[in-house]
Structures are given as C-alpha cells and as structure tokens.
Symmetry: C3
C-alpha cells in the first residue's frame, strides 16, 4: 500500500464541490483519500457501507464523508451527504484531477498530411494518424496509438495509450479508451463456399457515443452492413468482445470477459455481470440485469434480473434451481430408494399374500 | 447508419462475377450494398433469409440478389443465385475491393539488416522487423507490427496493424491477422520445484497455414517441443486463446472468447461457438459442432453436435437434460412429496394391519 | 514439426546441472530435446508419464531422462532423476538459454529525460519510457513497450515486446511479461449518479512481485484506493483479467481466460483452471484448486479442490452432482413413473379394496 498524495484542499472547498454539509473546521485541509482504517492525519475518508462502520470511531482521518445519521458517531470533521459513495467518486476527481494536456504533436508521431488535428489536441509519441482523420479540441492521444484512415474523435476524449481505431471508426466526446482496445476491426463474417469460408467484406462502421468508457484489450467489431453502435454513457470493462452490428443502449454497464455475439441489441441501463455470453440476433430489453457468468440464448424482456450459469431464467426460479443442483446426487439416491421401496413393497405385498394364503393351514 | 459507397459497377459485370442470372437491364449500375430496408436507388441488396421477404416488395434497391423462386416477387432487377448469401459475400469484395498495396518500407519502420523483404511488400510506419525474417511478395504489414526474429510470412498475407509475431513464427499465404493478435508467445509450461514454478523453455514454433483469419487480441502460443499448428482455411474470431501444441484442422471456425488448452487436437470442418472451453490433451474429431459456452473435458467423436454449458454431451440428450434443469426445483419437490406419501402409506398400512389384527376382536 | 537445435552439451555436464545420475558414456553430446518418438541421434529425451513408456525401447535418442526404475528398460544412455519432468524443465533452459541482453537504448526509443535506466539494461526499438521511470540492472525491454510515468522495474525482468505499464506500476525482479499485457490500467470503478455513471479516479497502484510470469494480452488493473498485488512466484497465463484491489498470493498459478473481480483475495499456492470466474470481495484460501470453468460466488476455505461449471462445491460432491446431471432427463422420467405408479396403486388399491369388499358377496 502506497499513499498517493493529491491536491491539498480545504474542507469548505470540498463540501461545496460535492454538495455535502460540513460539520467541522472549514479551514482544515486534506491531501489524499484513504479507507477509514488506513487514513492518517491529512486524509479524507468515507463510510459508504455499514460493514466498515466499526472503523469509524478509531479513524485517524482529518475528515469523513458519511450519511447524515452517522454524524454523532464521527470522531473527526464530517461531510454529510445522502449518497456517500457518490460523494467519494466526486471527490476523487477533485483531489486527483486529470492533468491538463499539453497541446501539440510529438515529433515521433506519424501523421498523414490529410489528417486534421485540432490545435488544442495532443498526439503522443509513436502514434500513427491516418488519412482524413479528424481529431477535435482537447483530445488526448497517448503513446503508440493507431488512428486509421477516416476516423473521427470528439472533443475531450482520451486514448490513454496503445489504442487501435480501425478505419471509419467514430468516437464521441469525453470518451476514455484504455490500452490494447481494438475498435472497428472487421466483424467475423464469412459465407460457406463448399468446405471453405469466404470472407464477407465488412462495410459498416463502429460508432461510439459520448461519455463512453472502454477497458483494456476490449474489442468492438465494425458492422457488416449496418453500424456497430455503443450509445452515450456506456461503460465497458476489460477483455470484452462486442460483435458486428451490436447495439448497446445508453448507460449500460458491462463487466469484464463478457462476449456479445453479432447483431444483438442490448437495451439502456442494463447491467451485465462478468463473463456473460449472449448469442447473436437477440433483443435484451432496457434495464435487464444479468448475473455474472450468464449464458443467454433467447431474447429477454426488461426490466428484470436474470441468471446465470445455466440457460438464463428469471432470477428467483433460477436461484432455486441452482440451489437444488448442489443436492442433485442426494435427489437421485432418494429416487432410487423410492423405486426400491415401491418395487419391494409390491413384491413383499405378494409375499405377504402368499403368507396369508398359507396361514389358514396353521 | 452511414452508407459507404464502393465502386460503381453494371449489373452485367456483377452477374458474371458472382455467377448469377440477371433479370433486368444489364447496363444498370450500383455503387453500394444495403439491406432491403435501407437500400436506395443505386444500392444492390440481397434476400438470404425468408424473414426479410416482407421487405422485398417495398425495397428501393436498384437490384436484389435472391433465390430463383423469388424472381416473380421482385419489384426491381434481380440477380438469381442458388445461395444468395454466398453471392452477397462475393459481391462485397467486388464492390469494396481491398486497396492495392503500395510497395515499400515506411521510413519510420525499424528493419534488421538480415531481414529479407520482397520488393512488392509493404512495411508500415513504426513496425519492427527482426533478424532473418522473410517477407514474401505482396505482403501488407500495417502500422506498429512486430515481426520478431526468424519469422516468415507467405505471399499476399495482411497484418492489419499492431500484430505481434514472436520468434520462429511461420505464417502462410493469404492470411489476415487483426490488431492486437499475439502469435507465438511462450506457452504456459512450468514444472513444480517444491512450492515454486520452474519455467520450461518453449522450443516449438507456431505454424499458421494458408487462408487463415485471426481476430483481434487473439493469442496463439508456440509449442513446447512440437509445434502449435493452425491448418489451412481456419477462421478465428477475437479474444481466442490457443494453448501450446494445439492443432486446429482445416476450415474449422472458432467464435470469440473460446479457450483451447495445451496439446488438444481439433479436427477439420469443426464449428466452435463462442466462449467454448476445451481441456488439454483431448481429441476432437472432424466435423464436431460445439454449442456456445460448451465446457469440454473429454475427447469427442465427429461428426456430431455437442453442447453445452454443462459437461458436453451429444446434443439431443444434452438439450433434454438442460430443459429439465429449468424444472429441477419442481422435480425435487415432487420427490419429497412421493417420499411423504410412501412414508405415510406404509405407516397407515401398518395402522391398517393393526386394525386388521384388532378387528377379529370385535 | 521443426527441430530446433540448442547448445551442444555432454551428458556429464547435463547430469551435473540437473542433479541426475548418469548411466552411459559421459562424453556423449546432445544438442536438442525431443519426445521419445521424435528424438534422433543427438537428441535428449525424457520419460515423465507412463503412457509414453511404450516408446522407450524404440527411441533413437542419444540419452533419456527417466525415473530410476526404468533404467533397465532404457536402450540408450540414461539420466536417472526422481522427478523426470522437473529435470526436463531444468534441461530446457540449459540447452536453450535465454540470450544475454545487449546493454543500451535503441535509437528509435523515446525516453523521458527524467527516467533512470541502468547502464546494463536494454530498451528496444520504438519503446516509450515516461517521466521518473526507474529501470534496474539487466532489464530487457523489447520493442514497442510503453512504460508510463512513475513506474519501476526490478533487475533481470524481461518485457518481451509490446507490454504496457500504466502509471505508477511497480514490477519486481526476474519477472517475464508477454506481448499485449496491460498492467495498471484504471480499475472499473464508477458510482451511479442518477442514470449516469460517474468515474471514480483510481488512486491505488499495481504491484507485481519477484519471479512472476504474465501472459499475452492479460490485463491487471490498478487499485482504487489500495493496491492491486501479485505476489512473488505467481504465474498467469494469457487473456486473464485481474480486477482492481485484487491480491494474488505467492506461487499461485492461473490458467488462461480467467477473470477475478475486484477486491477478491486469492491465497498462496492456489491453482485456478482455465476460464474460472470469481466474484468480487471474496476470500479464497491458501492451496485452493479450482476446476476449469468454475464459477465462484462465495469465499472458499483452503486447502481443497473445488469445481466447477455450476456454483462451486467441494470436489467429490460436485463431481457426483455433475455426473447426475447427465442423467437428469432419465431421473425426471423415473419420478414421473413413480408418481403414476403410486397414483395408480392407490387407485387400484381402492379398486382392490372394493373388490375385497365385493368378494364376500360371492
């Protein structure tokens, strides 16, 4: 654990920024964020889950963000906010702001003469900018990125490093893309020609909306005829595969290692757990939550929660079936026993009858 | 949806190229491909699935590729072909041809003096070509590729961008490799030395056949002693992991997010759905189809279809078992009920016997 | 299959190095390693699994590493070792040593003036070294790597090629990282702000211990507040996702395509099969083995074996349940039959009673 120091800010400043009510000295300063346990004087901490409440009384933090009802229990300055986790999120970018970008183009970058790069943008070392590319104001292109021909990137977007945008990809504003992501590669489109596979030239594009986040080594294929679309506010974790022609709706969040097959439509405000697999040509409604590891082979209505490892089902039923699975061996034995019992009973029933037949002789 | 324009071609020219029978004016020209719904005058469209048939009568396309039986229903020029989807695949590369490559080596590429690069090949900006590498005629090496020492690449292959070939990798002719793919990295080979892992130097190579396609961020490890082999005509989607010593047979197709463990042999003409996991040292026969999400822990005979999330089984049996899973909770309740019933019956049976015993007294 | 030649070494030299007892001419030389079947004169082979024993009598190898009890069966020189597989691992690095690195910085690399690179280290072509980076003795940085600001790399570590270390990442000594790996990218941390996702600035670092191996295209996120930690001796395969704040204990091995969600702690000496998915905030004990494909949604005590596709369970129970699954359809039919039988019996029982009632009348 290394403690990283951010800006030094007064509690008054912070309270104003995050919309919290301050209980304590407004002139106190903090310069880093830490958990209740690891906070030291100068740290700002937060209490967002009751299971950490036991650490509140002994925290060494200078101030704590918490829900109003915990103010009486807080031994130090308190910043009261109805949703402490959201307040914490807001304060992280206040104390640790993204550095302002230096405008310019690194001398080692390779820029096509037909590209248009805004004077306020930055293109990092060893990046390659192709023909007719348009890069808007305040865009940050980190080292080793490839922006192939006919791409455009909206203002204030940040390609951290080693991002690949294939031809015709369009990126909105305020988008963050992490290293190794490949956006707009050819979709997996082939026709059978006898035993062989004939490649179908992929003509559609990939269009990424505004305020989207794309994780490391995630791949999003270009459309075959229509476009692949990631709508505004979508957040994608690492190592996700999005097939061609997929449409992901506004503010949907997708956790790592998930794969979405071609032409499937995911609604808005969905939440897909990690390692979800969704077959192609399906329609997943708005507000669908999928448990981690879910395998989806049919369209799902939203809103609603579905799971899981087995073919998805509505959640309470799925959970019960999964619970039963842990006792399947026991269940099978019990059925065997019932069969024996019934088999024997009918046998012993016959035996008794014989006995009964015999008894009169005694 | 953005409509990308390709070449402008006459229907006569297209019919000849794709082997279709033209019903309409041979001089008509089209310059893009679109779905029946989105086609406009100048568009070529196609009908390959009956569910889109309802869009045929109202299409604004200039011409439609379709099966001969639909000619009477086609309101515009028709290109009749027995397999419209294959004809569509052929026409995509006709209207949107891969641009001819410019021969040469970009000034920013770093080339080892012992490498041999054919005069008709292209090496893009910021690519690195190692010692003794051999690059054949008309090969396209996009920006930011790494071709490490002792690799060879057959003619007309295309490394789109940011492809990594580790040492001793061999690539056939007409191979396409998408960005982020890593071919020939060390396999995961270690021996336990007490509590610690001792690395086994990987001596085998990776050999990729002709006409292979390798998706974005896919990884194919080099062999430990023998080679890892991807045979001719194999198509691999994105984010696939192929372990060391694996052999994938001709024309097999593997969908995204699939992992194949070391030393497993996959036959020819197999079709592996997305997110399949196959254990090591198995033998999967020719013509095996695996449902998406299948977990394979034993060798499988081909041809045949197998699934799925549970340990794989032949398909009809597997499908029935999975269907039962959705009713497992119900099944368990019914067994409980049977047990109670039988328990009570035998109890009440005894009671009746006692009664019977008793009755004589009356 | 191509036979790669290594150094030419005497059996005496090899026996000494790997701690084997030599039975044969100490002056004999070998120059490559091959399986018993593919070995030729000049090859060293090994017998580590009894299923290959049948190839021993006919091998053309010059010498074979084997367990002492097989010496009488060995037709050629023998190197007896109690654990032949470990001896084989040792001999691979003896015959095929990692080449000594050339010290220096390639002229095409882009180095921040504040970086400190040891004079014995190598920085390859087109690599980017950021501000305040510290690179220790004998470190090898292959082509096209990105070492962002404030990273440090311990001595003798090797970044094969195209490795990305994001800001503040710390790498131990003797670590090997394969192409495409992304270490220290932002974790997937967001707070809901109404319908939208607000990014939480990730302040923690990623710390990689000594003697760690990280596979191609694997991603390890930086911590949110605390650090993400990979302890000494851990080996990670390709395409693995490690979420923020995860802690992986000493000498744990993780096979490809596995995903570990944020804040989960994996113990020491664990073995995670391929395609394992582990939920967040769990505690997996020391010495836990997880079958490939396991889905883990609760903390697990170690040591112990758990599996698998279904929610994990202790192994023997899990294996039995999974075996039952293959017969679930049959089980359901049997229950139906029991129900019918009992239903009919009670009906026919009543009928018989009626008969009984009737018989007296006869």
């Amino acid at each position: 654990m290394t403690m990283r120091f951010g800006l030094s800010l007064t509690l008054e400043n912070i309270a104003m920024h995050i919309g919290a009510t301050l209980h304590g000295d407004p002139e106190l300063r903090v310069h880093n964020i830490a958990t209740l346990e690891q906070a030291r004087p100068g740290s700002l901490s937060f209490l967002s889950h009751k299971k950490y409440r036991r650490h509140l009384s002994s925290t060494q933090a200078t101030a704590v963000i918490l829900s109003p009802e915990f103010i009486p229990l807080c031994p130090v300055a308190a910043l009261a906010h109805p949703i402490p986790y959201l307040a914490y999120a807001k304060v992280t970018s206040l104390l640790y702001p993204v550095p302002n970008i230096t405008a310019g183009i690194h001398s080692s970058a390779v820029i096509d003469p037909t590209a248009h790069i805004d004077a306020t943008a930055w293109v990092g070392p060893l990046s390659v900018i192709g023909a007719r590319v348009k890069i808007a104001a305040a865009v940050f292109i980190g080292p080793n990125c490839i922006i192939d021909a006919d791409c455009d990137i909206g203002n204030n977007s940040r390609l951290i490093a080693r991002v690949t945008l294939c031809q015709h990809t369009s990126i909105g504003c305020r988008v963050t893309i992490h290293p190794g992501a490949v956006i707009g590669a050819d979709g997996f489109g082939f026709a059978k020609d006898g035993d062989q596979w004939l490649r179908i030239t992929q003509i559609g594009r990939t269009r990424i909306g505004n305020d989207v986040e794309i994780g490391a080594n995630t791949t999003i294929d270009r459309g075959s005829l229509d476009d692949t679309v990631i709508a505004d506010g979508v957040i994608l974790d690492n190592l996700i595969q999005i097939g061609h022609n997929v449409h992901v709706g506004e503010n949907t969040a997708i956790v790592a290692c998930t794969g979405i097959s071609g032409s499937t439509k995911i609604g808005r405000n969905c939440l897909l757990g990690g390692n979800v697999g969704i077959a192609g040509h399906l329609d997943i409604g708005d507000g669908v939550c999928l448990a981690a590891g879910s395998r989806v082979t049919r369209s799902l209505q939203g809103p609603g929660s579905y799971g899981g490892v087995l073919p998805v089902d509505v959640e309470p039923l799925w959970r019960r079936n999964v619970a039963r699975l842990r006792h399947l061996d026991d269940l099978a034995r019990r059925v065997r026993q019932l069969e024996r019992l019934i088999h024997n009973e009918s046998k012993s029933g016959q035996a008794e009858e014989n006995n009964d037949d015999a008894t009169p002789d005694i």
